[in-house]
Every structure is written in C-alpha cells, then in structure tokens.
C-alpha cells in the first residue's frame, strides 16, 4: 500500500533508509525542523539546517521517487534560549515561501517552561500573521499530559488560527480526545520507548475513528524505526480492518491536511487521486 509519513526526521537517516522507505510503499514524507541532538549556537546554524531541509533532503528523496516536504521553526528544547529563538523566528520568512515548505513546526513544549511557552506563542503569532499551517510537538512521558493541555490552551486562546490547519503530534491515550474534540488534527507517533506502539495506535483508531487522524514514525536520531508506518498498516490488517480505512489514515488524511498549504505540490502514484493545493 502506498503511504505518506507525515513526521519523519530524514536528516538523521541514511540514504539506505530512503531506499527502504520507497520499497515499503512510502511516496511522500514531511520533515519538521527539530532538535538535532545538540544545541546550535547561532542563527546561522539554523539557516544552514533549514537549507539542508529545503534543498538536500528533497534531492535525496527524489533519488527514490519520493516527495519530501518540510516545516520551519526553532524547536521547543532550544526555545529555552529566548534571544536565539527570536533571531531564528525573524530569519524564518527567508524559507517559508520556498517550494515544499508546508508551514511552521514542530513547535511546542518540551519541559513545559515559561520560556518555551513564550516562544511557542511567538511562533503562533508568526503563523497567524502569514497564514501558515502549524505542526506541533507535544512533550514526552510524564510531561505529556500537562504540556498538551497547555498547548491546547494557547491554541484555543488565539482566535486567528484555523484549527483544521493545525496538527498536534505525539498524541497518546490520555491526550488524543482533547486534541480531536477541539477540532485539531492529531498524529500518533510510533516509537519503541517513549511514545506509542502500532497495536495501541490501532486501539485509538477503533476508539476515536479515522477523522483528522494520522500516524507517523518520527524516525529521528534516537531509537526509532523509520518503517513504523508499514508496521501500523500490518497491525490494522491483522485486526481485520479494511484496506479503505487503512488508506484513509496513512495516505488520504495526510494529503487532505497538507493540501491546505500553498507550497504543497504532489504528484500521486498512478491510479491514486490527486489533491489540488488550496
């Protein structure tokens, strides 16, 4: 089955992984800007990272006939440095109109601090002023519930935001309901240690239905599995779910969400419907 991975950090993966993803049926991916394992020291460090995301990674994906899309931001962990964060936010418009840049992300909270919240709000302001889509990181483990509720508070307080253009990622059993009930999209991240397993993701599909729901692999520099979405597809099949339902979650939903971005340009594989950018 063809699928789209809506959240995967390909800068952390080898070219072999691109080839494997293509062989597994991946036709497109979106890569949010994130914490690459170390704190960067200057705005130029971020500029180089954004150049990598907008030039080299699409090229690598193209070698295997996949589409690569991306998102710009300073992540929550490095947002603790407010001065640097503001420099990065001021520089981001250099990239936001480039082909394949879908919006601002993955912004959010890490340890749920005041500084992280301030920079999250400043990202939201930029997104609202420019009409950008938003992709959100929610914290891990014991910080997740509190941080997700704080994020939803801030999103709901900003009436300029169109909730159907906001994706809240890394939802789990205790956070998914609040995100969907407020009208946002939700992403389930399959991860060996700190997030969700394929079987639990299928449980959440059964509990909440497929609307505004996606599944992704994260596929970052930590212990992670870039082919986690095919694992989810297999778990859905083993539970007896129809192919049409699986396709909606792993292909049609990402297309529907991404097509709201002005920089989304996607050629579907033969036999599958095209979605025009809105």
């Amino acid at each position: 089955m063809y699928y789209i991975d809506p959240h995967i950090h390909m800068v952390s993966r080898t070219t072999d992984d691109y080839e494997t993803l293509a062989k597994m049926g991946c036709v497109a991916m979106s890569e949010p800007a994130f914490w690459a394992g170390f704190d960067r020291g200057s705005v130029d460090g971020f500029r180089d990272y954004f150049r990598q995301l907008t030039t080299f990674e699409p090229k690598r994906a193209g070698w295997y006939h996949m589409h690569h899309f991306t998102w710009m931001c300073i992540n929550a962990k490095e947002a603790e440095n407010v001065k640097l964060s503001r420099e990065v936010i001021a520089m981001m418009p250099e990239f936001l109109d480039l082909p394949g840049v879908l919006g601002i992300g993955e912004i959010g909270l890490n340890k749920n601090t005041k500084n992280e919240s301030i920079i999250f709000l400043e990202h939201l302001d930029l997104a609202a002023k420019r009409g950008e889509q938003i992709l959100i990181h929610t914290p891990h483990l014991e910080d997740k519930l509190k941080g997700t509720r704080m994020i939803v508070d801030m999103l709901c307080d900003d009436r300029r935001l169109d909730r159907s253009r906001v994706l809240v990622d890394h939802v789990e059993e205790h956070t998914i309901r609040g995100v969907l009930e407020e009208g946002f999209w939700a992403g389930m991240t399959l991860y060996p240690v700190s997030k969700c397993t394929p079987e639990r993701a299928v449980d959440m599909v059964e509990l909440y239905g497929p609307e505004r729901l996606m599944v992704n692999s994260a596929g970052d520099w930590g212990p992670s599995k870039p082919t986690a979405v095919p694992d989810f597809i297999m778990a859905m099949r083993r539970r007896g779910h129809p192919e049409s339902l699986i396709r909606k979650i792993v292909y049609e939903n990402p297309l529907e969400f991404f097509s709201q971005s002005r920089n989304f340009n996607f050629t579907p594989p033969e036999g599958l419907p095209a979605v025009e950018a809105k």
Binding site: K114, L121, D143, L145, M150, D153, E206, G209
Partner: protein, 90 residues
C-alpha cells in the same frame, strides 16, 4: 467504531504476548528486590503499584471500563494547573 475481531479471537491471538509481558514485569520486580539498596518511599514505585492496581481490573472484563491504558497514562503524568498562564503572566 467497531472492533472487527471478536474477543475470543483477540484473546487467542494475544494470549502469549500478554503472558510474556506479565512475566517481564514479574522479573523486573524480582530484579529490583534482589539488588542492593531500598526502594521504600521512592515515588516511582508508588506509581508502578498504582499502575498494577489498574490492571487488576482485567480480571473483571465485563464490569471494568475499557480505558485502562488512559488510566495508566494519567498515573504516570504530572499534574496540570488551569491557572498556569495567569501565574506566569503570559
């Protein structure tokens, strides 16, 4: 949304995996106990005990609410304060 497989089919499919996970937990607790040092008063052990208590409802499948995963997640979560923005002035 409905669950396509019946409960007996799911149990047949998942029985050995559940058994393996319970064994893994049992072995972990044994390991803690065999090692030097005390865990008395460690709040993480309290959370583990609270989590196991939620699972004990599994013996009464008909009466317990099917939200054990959510309950366990809540046990391992920090509290949320609705007044957080007011306190920080943002």
């Amino acid at each position: 949304m409905s669950v396509p497989l019946s409960a007996p089919d799911l149990l047949t499919r998942d029985f050995l995996e559940v058994r393996a996970k319970i064994l893994e937990l049992a072995a972990c607790l044994d390991r803690f106990q065999r090692a030097e040092g005390s865990l008395a008063g460690d709040p993480r052990m309290r959370r583990i005990q609270d989590g196991l208590a939620v699972l004990q409802g599994a013996a009464q499948l008909e009466s317990a609410e099917p939200n054990r995963a959510e309950q366990v997640q809540q046990i391992f979560s920090l509290p949320y304060d609705e007044e957080w923005r007011k306190k920080w002035g943002i």
